[in-house]
């Protein structure tokens, strides 16, 4: 079982630890550099990329602003297609629904398609508590699960691991989970991928219950879409008798043709490919003219809120719900590239995580979440690459204001106290003059006893012998002799 983000320290503390890990920084710089170059190459191929971004943003925005109608429509069409629709207000409700379906079929194990939402709700841990083993089948998720690790990237959760570390995890951990790694395992990516194929195949072939998320859900047709690379998704969506898909309510799009901009935007932004190797779409249960149905005979869809309606109510932050989980914003972020994903303390790291987590959970409740809107230099690279034009910097600034507002009253934070002090001093000229005379002394004091979080990485400047205002008064703005 992989670990948990519960109890993670606030971003500045976690980031400092991550920055001290030179192996991690090397792995991240290599991986993000590779993916940035690939994305830039395939995005440059598309002459109307900006139009495509606008179309992608419009498709998602339209569905979000009409979400109640779209969800009711989706429920209707899914049901008409033979699927069973469930609604879950929060993680606990969703986990209970999935566990009860697995138990109905006496399943002791389930196979999983890589899915952010099931990570968000901690489904694997919840199933384990019910005695059901949930096997991750995406290569990177498998690496994280076998290594008892935490995901650090949306697309490539094991991005913080290099090939030598992965080889070691496979050698020492695969045997306990099923078929062991071959004894002649090398650290060649192709050899490691082949070992994962052998290890997981027996699980695919015997699984009775498959679990997935969905990249998109089409209201008009009752169709779910899963975008993937390895074929593990196709295995989980096709071979088990029962399929349960947990779908965040923001995944809905209105019409079938709305998939067009999204299916062109996502792979180029995500893996830097013209198209991902496999995309599967299904609309409930697919009966065949003869023989059993093509794919699962029982199909469930769990529509999940878990904070999404809270985010929807935020008129500035609402746009974060357009996110299609491509992770382009992580790969270009100077903060993410240096700290990695674990420092964000969530399955959603990077710039999108810095806005999505506070929007889903609300600010003012815990220091970890409240620290995330500050985990950015506001450089704007994330907005520039976002395929659905989420203005992450603007949302970050708005959330910072919300964090400050949430802490009004009670004992003020040092920053709030400093701002109050500044307002008092700057409000009256004599007060400012008095303080200016003390600046030199104050600086010397600060250098000696000041907050090391600031001075640890920066020099405090020397205070000038005379303030500008004092010089102006003495020399009449330089007209008198400046002696």
């Amino acid at each position: 079982m992989s670990g948990t983000f519960v109890g993670m320290p606030a971003f500045p503390t976690a980031a400092r630890e991550a920055l001290a890990d030179s192996q991690l920084r090397h792995n991240l710089a290599h991986a993000t550099g590779t993916i940035r170059a690939k994305r830039a190459r395939v995005v440059a191929e598309v002459p109307d990329w900006e139009e495509l971004r606008l179309a992608g943003a419009a498709v998602k925005e339209r569905a979000l602003l009409d979400l109640d109608t779209q969800l009711v429509r989706l429920e209707e069409t899914l049901t008409a297609n033979g699927a069973t629709v469930h609604w879950a207000r929060d993680a606990a409700e969703a986990n209970a629904i999935v566990a009860s379906i697995a138990k109905t079929h006496a399943a002791e194990e389930v196979v999983k398609v890589k899915s952010m939402v099931t990570q968000e709700i901690g489904l694997n841990e919840a199933l384990a508590a019910e005695g059901i083993a949930a096997w991750e089948t995406d290569l990177a998720e498998l690496i994280v699960q076998l290594g008892d690790d935490l995901p650090s990237h949306i697309l490539v959760p094991a991005i913080h691991r290099n090939r030598a570390e992965i080889r070691e995890i496979f050698r020492s951990r695969m045997a306990a989970a099923g078929r062991p790694a071959p004894s002649d395992l090398t650290d060649e990516p192709a050899v490691l991928a082949a070992a994962a194929r052998e290890h997981l195949r027996e699980k695919f072939l015997r699984a009775k219950v498959g679990i997935s998320g969905a990249n998109f859900a089409v209201a008009e047709t009752g169709t779910l879409v899963v975008v993937e690379s390895e074929g593990n998704g196709r295995m989980c969506l096709t071979l088990p008798e029962v399929l349960v898909s947990v779908v965040g309510i923001e995944k809905v799009v209105s019409r079938w043709e709305d998939l067009d901009p999204l299916l062109r935007l996502l792979p180029r932004s995500s893996t830097g490919e013209r198209m991902n190797p496999y995309t599967s779409t299904w609309s409930g249960i697919h009966a065949q003219e003869e023989g059993p149905s093509d794919g699962p005979q029982e199909v469930h869809v769990v529509l999940l809120d878990n904070g999404r309606t809270r985010a929807l109510a935020d008129e500035v932050g609402r746009q974060a719900l357009r996110c299609i989980r491509c992770s382009a914003c992580l790969n270009v972020c100077p903060v993410y590239e240096r700290t990695g994903g674990h420092a964000y303390g969530s399955v959603y790291p990077g710039p999108i995580g810095a806005i999505l987590n506070p929007l889903l959970k609300g600010v003012g409740h815990d220091d970890q979440t409240d620290s995330l809107p500050y985990a950015s230099s506001l450089c704007g690279a994330c907005f520039e690459v976002c395929p659905v034009r989420i203005d992450i910097p603007s949302v970050l600034v708005d959330l910072r204001a919300q964090v400050v507002d949430a802490h009004r009253g009670g004992v003020p934070k040092p920053e709030a106290a400093a701002m109050k002090g500044a307002a008092y001093v700057l409000g009256r000229s004599p007060r400012l003059s008095a303080l200016e005379r003390l600046t030199g002394l104050g600086m010397r004091f600060a250098r000696r006893f000041g907050p090391t979080a600031w001075t640890g990485a920066r020099d405090l400047p020397d205070a000038p012998g005379e303030s500008f205002r004092a010089w102006w008064q003495r020399t009449d703005g330089g007209r008198k002799d400046d002696a």
């Binding site: 792995n27 991986a31 590779t34 993916i35 690939k38 139009e51 606008l54 943003a57 419009a58 498709v59 925005e61 602003l65 109640d68 969800l71 469930h86 609604w87 879950a88 409700e93 290569l139 690496i143 992965i166 990516p189 192709a190 991928a193 082949a194 994962a196 695919f204 015997r206 089409v218 047709t221 169709t223 690379s229 390895e230 074929g231 593990n232 196709r234 295995m235 071979l239 309510i249 079938w256 043709e257 067009d260 062109r264 013209r274 198209m275 190797p277 995309t279 599967s280 299904w282 609309s283 697919h286 003869e290 023989g291 093509d294 794919g295 809120d305 309606t309 929807l312 109510a313 008129e315």
Partner: protein, 201 residues
């Protein structure tokens, strides 16, 4: 206590209440292509090969021989409606289990649409392509695409495809970029994708 459905829908309505934002109008649809030009078919062949799939072009009367030459050692399965003859093939009747399919080396199918810009083949699993499992579990997938099935780009394909069918979009053999973001071909799906693009005689 209200049920989850009622409460979630109420929360959504409350969240959107008073929101004066007008959604942007849907983007203008561009004209969809009707006929596959030779340039479009050339691009399709080039882009499929880019993913390290094997790509061959041949005449319809040459197809049987090309398929025979492409088949690996071992058993081959075909869907019941395949329009080309494959010697010694098992014709799928929907009864083979996943474990039985795992012992079969190759599958031959047709396709619904080829997308040139992205080098993608789309299966809609009608009888010329068969149920989803047969084109997934065997390690070699030989796929026949007719030139007149190739369209320029994704919107053209979306317009042609029927969402009521299960669809599988395939762009090259199974691959992963999960180790240091290096692309490696061959994980769980067929590790060899062999595409035969046919033109009528």
């Amino acid at each position: 206590m209200t049920d989850a459905r009622t409460e979630i829908l109420a929360r959504v309505r409350e969240a959107l209440a008073g929101s004066a934002v007008e959604p942007a109008p849907p983007s203008a649809r561009r004209d969809l292509a009707s006929v596959a030009t030779p340039e479009v078919v050339d691009l399709f062949a080039e882009r499929v090969a880019d993913y390290r799939a094997v790509v061959e072009r041949c005449g319809a009367d040459d197809l049987e021989d090309r398929i025979a030459a492409a088949l690996p050692a071992g058993q081959v399965i075909v869907p019941s409606g395949l329009s080309v003859r494959v010697a010694d093939a098992i014709v799928d009747d929907g009864t083979l289990t996943a474990a039985e399919l795992d012992r079969i080396a190759a599958v031959v199918t047709e396709a619904r649409v080829g997308i040139a810009e992205t080098g993608t083949i789309v299966l809609d699993h009608t009888p010329d392509q068969g149920r989803r499992a047969i084109s997934l579990v065997p390690d070699t997938h030989i796929c026949v695409v007719r030139e007149d099935q190739v369209v320029p780009d994704v919107p053209d394909a979306i317009a042609l495809l029927d969402p009521a069918r299960p669809l599988t979009w395939i762009s090259g053999p199974s691959a992963t970029s999960d180790i240091e973001l290096d692309r490696v071909e061959g994980v769980h799906g067929p590790r060899t994708l062999h595409v035969l693009i046919t033109h009528p005689e």
